[in-house]
Subunit: 298 residues, 2 copies
Amino acid sequence: MKAGVINIGDELLIGQTVNTNLTWLGKNLGDVGISIYKSTTILDEEDEIIAALDDYMQEADLIIITGGLGPTNDDITKETLTQYFETELVLNQQVLARIESYFSAMQKEMLPSNVQQAMLPKDALVIDNQHGTASGMWFERNGKVIISLPGVPYEMKALVIEEIIPRLKSSYGIKGKYHQTIMLQGIGESFLAEKIHDWEQRIYEDQLHLAYLPSTGLIKLRLTADKGIEDAAKINRYFKELEHRFPEYVYGYNEANIFNEVGKLFIARNLTLGTVESCTGGGIANAFIQFPGTSSFF
Amino acid sequence: MKAGVINIGDELLIGQTVNTNLTWLGKNLGDVGISIYKSTTILDEEDEIIAALDDYMQEADLIIITGGLGPTNDDITKETLTQYFETELVLNQQVLARIESYFSAMQKEMLPSNVQQAMLPKDALVIDNQHGTASGMWFERNGKVIISLPGVPYEMKALVIEEIIPRLKSSYGIKGKYHQTIMLQGIGESFLAEKIHDWEQRIYEDQLHLAYLPSTGLIKLRLTADKGIEDAAKINRYFKELEHRFPEYVYGYNEANIFNEVGKLFIARNLTLGTVESCTGGGIANAFIQFPGTSSFF
């Protein structure tokens, strides 16, 4: 299932807010086998929303839209989607009741703009939001699913976990991909690539996907099997081969932290560690003490 | 100057890496008056890069591309741009010398893939990267500027601050926008919107731009003047009006922190504060002690 993500909100483009929604969706959709092939971030402007929809309606099977569902004048996503899909807004009694109970729990009066949030597109499936006043909306058009969600991260996440993923799973029988990551340090990306050229060729021939994920002082190599868990043994074999070939570089798997791994070696070998730091300003000590058990050797 | 940003990299779409580059560009380009109207995040795939370029070449004056310039096989941005702009790769002696000195300083040998990084498009302005081996590239086509930068954040930031913004300023005489933010608490977004409806109307009539930026427990209202500092007095007048109308909600300006503001009141009125916390788990104390001077009243 090919997914595209449209994130709507001026704040994402003016440097006010980091788009953590996309990262979270990438990880959580990926875990159930839905790949995001592209994401577009746009302003709260009708023209931009329509242009983005036109684009994704051509290529994506699933379009997830976040943002622009608030009660203020700058939020126009719901109205734009209602026009785009040629439907109309009708009062949703269930949502109105939810919003009323939400305000009465907070002992606040409701305003016309809050009532307006219970006006929802007639032929969308309304996804009830337990954590706020903006409902999610699920449209189906031309065999595609288009889902509009609030931009507030905890509301978006709750709707995806509780409502969207279960519905996608039951409707489309999607299954997860299988990822594993091996962690290396002490070698540069280009040097590693040179040394594992033959290994990399075999990876591709075996229809696994390889990604180099370098960051300061370390390299992660991630192998992904589209067919899910059945390729786990194959991936493990490839990683064991690297461990065997490069014992001096490989220090762990799946986000293992090198300070924690080194700490385990100190404990296993009954060694103790002291640090005297100058320009690292206590950074090394601080890196070690992040992990439980450090006090037994440090 | 209308800017579009294309971020290239599988890691941004699979939930591995948060796209902080876009946020940083939004803020730093915004500060010199360049607005980002749209951003697209794509995989390291030729088709996607070309489709994104086709899209932005229609609307943007400035296109900033980040990522996909590393030495490994998955990075294809440079080759794709070279084809797209119908030019060819030639060896850049200056960049080769820089890469050689970079490797000799690290006492490492160079590989063919590192030499390959000195192969750069013939008719692009090469932007020398002092912090890594991937050069920036500046193309000009149809009156538009297209800039390709490495995706590693500290390399991208250094190139933008040291090279790109000065060149854009001198070539296009761009000037900054003027932003101010007023901070309110104790009122919900929709209630505030209802109360300041008249004020909001006048804002639009005065051609200022208003954004509501709500987060947990507070609302920021940001006013922006496209014409720069000359509208500062107008913005200040609007904010003074809010301060006068809502003394119980307005607590400061421009990211002022409410704990710091409350602390200042304690000091000014010669009061002291003690906290006994249960379910806040020391959170209130912790919020206060973030600020210098807290020890004089807490």
